[in-house]
């Protein structure tokens, strides 16, 4: 089970629950499982989200593998030279 | 009223053009003579990107009227390299990475050349004050000042 942590405002869409243990093996599965649990997260996960897997930040990386004891953080996407909204 | 008919010399070549009174030398160089090396950054004499030599004086071409230059000598960045050889300052700027985006570079080169013709051995402070009318937002000026100082040293006749 990977440990999944929601950073920032995402927690507000899950009734305050910010930590999950999920059996996801890819980012795609992770999104599906989270949406299953909290439909409100749905379209927020499609856009503007970065995923940190064991400290490494990925943006738009649906197929990135997630290990069984991986620590995963969902963050607002960082756009750097462009303005994040 | 009718446009002004002006004859002048640009980089040693005779030129002839028509311009309205309100057109600046920069407008004429860029839009009429298609010499776009002189850049327009502010049109108020504050950035130096349009620097040219007018009868041997460094000026902002955005602060000179086209109709003022009849019979006068104008030198622009396009005239700086002679034949196959870049001017030592142009070479110096390349080797020192003294440009990032490059928009201010023509103005800095024209102004730096004017400095070295007047003051072959400038101090760092002289270089910085002489170039204070040329804005650069990329480099922090460090590599530009080094390029000018080192090129000046290289250009001086060795004892």
């Amino acid at each position: 089970m990977a440990r999944v942590v929601l950073v920032g405002n995402l927690g507000q869409l899950t009734g305050g629950i910010a930590e999950f243990d999920l059996p996801a093996t890819t980012v795609k599965q992770l999104y599906e499982q989270l949406t299953e649990l909290h439909p409100a997260l749905g379209h927020h996960l499609d856009e503007g989200i970065a995923v940190a897997i064991d400290g490494q930040i990925f943006q738009d990386a649906l197929f990135e593998p997630i290990g069984p004891d991986s620590e995963v953080f969902l963050l607002p996407q960082i756009a750097g030279g462009s303005t994040p909204v | 009223m009718a446009k002004h008919h002006v004859e002048a010399k640009v980089n040693g070549d005779p030129v002839e053009f028509l311009c309205e009174t309100e057109e600046t030398l920069l407008d004429v160089l860029r839009d009429t003579l298609h010499l776009t090396g002189s850049k327009e950054g502010c049109s108020s004499g504050d950035c130096g990107a349009c620097s040219v030599m007018l009868d041997g004086r460094l000026v902002c071409s955005c602060l000179v009227l086209g109709c003022e230059v009849g019979g006068r000598q104008i030198e622009t960045i396009e005239g700086m390299a002679k034949g196959d050889a870049l001017h030592p300052l142009q070479q110096g700027f390349l080797e020192h990475a003294a440009l990032q985006c490059g928009i201010c570079t023509p103005g800095f080169l024209v102004a730096s050349k004017a400095l070295l013709e007047k003051t072959p051995s400038p101090t760092e402070s002289e270089v910085r004050y002489w170039l204070a009318g040329n804005l650069c937002r990329c480099t922090g000026y460090d590599k530009i000042v080094s390029a000018v100082m080192d090129t000046a040293a290289a250009m001086r006749p060795k004892q």
């Binding site: 942590v5 405002n9 | 860029r30 990032q100 490059g102």
Partner: protein, 761 residues
């Protein structure tokens, strides 16, 4: 550089090569935004609102249209409205309902300089006259400029449909607060309980402009069949294409955008202003339309970055361990939501290992131009506030400020304040590098002060597409799709030369237009050298594999009998006695006979961008009788991972530091009671000039980024993060006064000195 016919083993990465685009830029040949022209082109000009806030009752363009030489006039009626939905444009999340209103005001003009109409005419003079003939009836509304005033419930409302996101329950009344965001770690109150010293301060920063010397410029031509060509000065021509296609209802595939040479951007050329207007005018006039902003328009109508109010509260134990950090950030977004408060929140405490962190941020609209990105958007503001308080903690506990930072520095494995653990990072190395400088121990005189501050930026990767083509003579054409804003082509050419083992000067890099390569995200986020070099390695890999395959066919060998090394396919083992290695040049000569053109295309979404930390050290002197500050000495140490081109990396450090000096000392947007900008020009918007600054010593720290084939980290943005704090700390050291408001301009400094009776030499 010696060229060998049979492979070439010289390495160019890490050397100070002359940039391939250099000659054009020192001779005036390079073509920037306003240097492009088309036969029959018209000149476009924009009519802008004189009011900071006004309802647009009516716009009558008939008199302007009647003026001989006027070929098109456009207003809000020429742009279809857009639904309010946030959609990804490249990586940037945008609400096109706002974008369409920012490029051309609809119901209301929301800031002085807001575009209200535009004309295309046969000459500048006619276009200017035409603007005076457009009759706009405004109903002037009360305006609000200051961020704190804008947050008040009785403040003039910019958008009656703006309800604060991120508060529970959803508010019933609209306000100017677009968003409240928050990050939490541990229990900050419990943390403060453990603290022996707690320092709380409120800071204020002014909006500052990116200050690129080249004004925005665009040249567009639209054909009856909808195909459009656009030349524009931008950090991302694919993003421009996306915006223009969306705003004008065009097929992306029919819009071809060429990025001209770009005269500085720093984040400010990541959005559209003139581009959609030029296309709309060309569509109406059926002729090419060229538009160039004046400097005044650049200041009034293009994005500065946020001004802000930031409250910071930090707690530490008496032996210097940071135990708790709280911060509240109020960032101006300008007329439409979307300030960089999110990264501001995430960066505030990023350099430090702190157990308990709580940061709240507000995104606030007011009657100012919509902010655009500016180098590490949001980070300099919040990190300035934190670094100022860190300095006060050091003073209070009598601990060396570098040692204090070292003691609390984030390192590999540290849980970042924004959540995840850091991989290998170089903050400690930059602190050590600073401590080792002669500068750190140099003596100071009365009224002189020394300050230090560290800074962090995430850096990004993102979608990137490049191509490498081996030409018939063995030379290599390199095409990238991210505008080269400061030496990118030099870095990419060096990587391509090393990968293929060809001489650097045989690689010709160009920036392709949107029709030439797959999607590229923009030049920003310190990504272009990081991602571009990654994509080139990928493209080169394809070429090497192809050449090995061709060699196997020519030599009738098995794949395991050949390898590509030092610019040639080499036979292994016994095969070596039969055949000679074949270089890239050799293959180029027989390309046709062996399968056709040789080339590779790298198409990636670059991941693994490593954060870059930096530490800045500054000496300054204050004139106690006038409040004037002189920067005496400046040293930057930053982790570059691996510097592909050391000179251009140093250039990023030096340029960022000097932009920071301007931000700290003199740059600010000054508004009058009337809500109008009073210093929309380089005369009174005071960016540093050459005589204002010393040489900037640059120390390259290289802690390799394991996720990049060359170990590269982005370097462009971090350098503007530490200066504000470093200079504020040096001011405190020189005067004994903690300044909490930027810019620290002479009137403010003299006032503070006078209040303490210190204004005598």
């Amino acid at each position: 550089m010696a060229e060998t016919t049979n492979g070439h083993s010289q390495s160019y990465v890490g050397t100070r090569t002359v940039r391939p685009d250099g000659h054009d830029k020192v001779t005036g040949r390079a073509r920037f935004g306003s240097d492009f022209n088309l036969a029959g082109q018209l000149i476009g000009r924009v009519l802008r609102s004189p009011h900071p806030h006004a309802r647009i009752v009516s716009i009558d363009t008939s008199r302007a249209e009647a003026l001989p030489g006027v070929k098109a006039v456009i207003t809000r009626d020429d742009f279809g409205d857009q639904p309010s939905e946030f959609i990804p444009a490249g990586e940037m999340m945008m609400n096109y309902k706002d974008v369409v209103r920012n490029v051309m005001a609809r119901e209301k003009a929301l800031y002085e300089g807001h575009a209200v109409a535009a004309v295309a005419a046969t000459s500048v003079a006619i276009a200017r006259r035409a603007l005076k003939l457009i009759d706009v009836t405004y109903e002037v509304l009360p305006h609000v400029i200051d961020v704190v005033e804008a947050m008040r419930s009785d403040a003039p409302l910019l958008h009656d449909d703006l309800f604060t996101v991120g508060v529970d329950p959803k508010p019933e009344k609209p306000s100017n607060i677009a968003k409240r965001i928050e990050i939490k770690q541990g229990d900050v109150e419990a943390g403060f309980e453990k603290a022996d010293v707690v320092i709380e301060r409120e800071f204020k920063t002014a909006p500052v402009h990116q200050g690129y010397i080249e004004p925005h410029a665009a040249l567009a031509t639209f054909s009856e069949d909808g195909s459009t060509e656009l030349w524009t000065t931008t950090q991302g021509h694919y993003i421009v294409r996306a915006h223009c296609a969306r705003l004008l209802g065009l097929d992306v595939g029919k819009v071809r955008v060429t990025a001209t040479e770009i005269g500085g951007g720093f984040g400010g050329k990541t959005v559209v202003y003139l581009e959609p207007l030029a296309i709309a005018l060309s569509r109406k006039a059926k002729r090419p339309v060229k538009m160039v902003m004046s400097r005044e328009e650049v200041f009034k109508a293009s994005g500065p970055t946020s001004g802000a109010v930031v409250r910071v509260k930090m707690g530490a134990t008496k032996d210097g361990k940071f135990v708790a950090g709280f911060a509240e950030l109020k960032y101006q977004a300008g007329a439409f939501q979307g300030s960089p408060v999110q990264p501001g929140v995430m960066c505030a405490y990023a350099p430090y290992d702190i157990e308990h962190v709580h940061v709240i941020g507000y995104d606030v609209v007011s009657n100012r131009p919509k902010v655009a990105a500016y180098r590490a958007p949001g980070a300099p503001i919040s990190e300035y506030a934190v670094e100022s308080v860190v300095d006060e903690i050091a003073k209070t506990l009598d601990i060396d400020p570098v040692d204090l930072r070292m003691q609390n520095a984030a390192r590999e494995g540290t849980k970042a304040a924004y959540g995840p653990k850091f991989g290998p990072i170089g903050l400690e190395e930059t602190l050590n590098a600073i401590k080792k400088t002669e500068h750190w121990n140099a003596p100071l005189r009365k009224w002189q002060g020394r300050g230090v501050a560290s800074g962090f930026w995430f850096n990004i990767g993102g979608e990137t597409c490049v191509s490498l083509t081996v030409n018939e003579d063995g030379t290599v054409s390199l095409m990238a799709g991210t505008p080269d804003i400061g030496g990118l082509r030099a870095s990419l050419a060096a990587v391509a030369a090393d990968e293929l083992g060809v001489p650097y000067d045989k690689v010709r890099p160009i920036i392709g237009d949107t029709a030439s390569l797959g999607f590229n995200f923009l030049t920003g986020g310190s990504r272009s050298a990081f991602s571009g070099s990654m994509a080139i390695v990928e493209a080169a890999k394809q070429i090497k594999a192809d050449l090995c395959a061709r060699a196997c066919k020519l030599w009738e060998a098995k794949p395991d009998q050949v390898e590509f090394s030092d610019g040639a396919v080499r036979p292994l083992g016994a095969l070596g006695e039969k055949v000679k290695p074949m270089s890239v040049v050799d293959f180029a000569k027989v390309a046709g006979k062996t399968g056709g053109p040789i080339g590779g295309v790298g198409r990636i979404n670059a991941q693994g961008a490593g954060p870059s930390f930096g530490t800045h050290l500054v000496d300054l002197e204050v004139d106690p009788e006038t409040g004037r500050t002189t920067i005496l000495r400046y040293t930057v140490a930053q982790d570059a991972g691996r510097a592909l081109h050391p000179a251009y990396v140093e250039g990023q450090f030096q340029g960022g530091a000097v932009q920071g000096i301007g931000w700290a000392l003199n740059e600010e947007y000054i508004y009058g009671e009337d809500g109008k900008l009073q210093n929309a020009g380089f005369l009174d918007y005071r960016m540093p000039v050459a005589s204002d600054v010393p040489m900037i010593d640059a120390i390259l720290v290289e802690v390799a980024n394991p996720k990049h084939p060359y170990g590269v980290r982005g370097v462009g943005e971090t350098p503007i993060v530490p200066p504000l704090g470093a200079i504020a700390n040096a001011m405190a050291n020189a005067t004994g006064i903690r300044f909490t408001e930027l810019p620290m301009s002479p009137p403010k400094v003299l006032k503070a000195l006078k209040d303490k009776g210190l204004n005598r030499a």
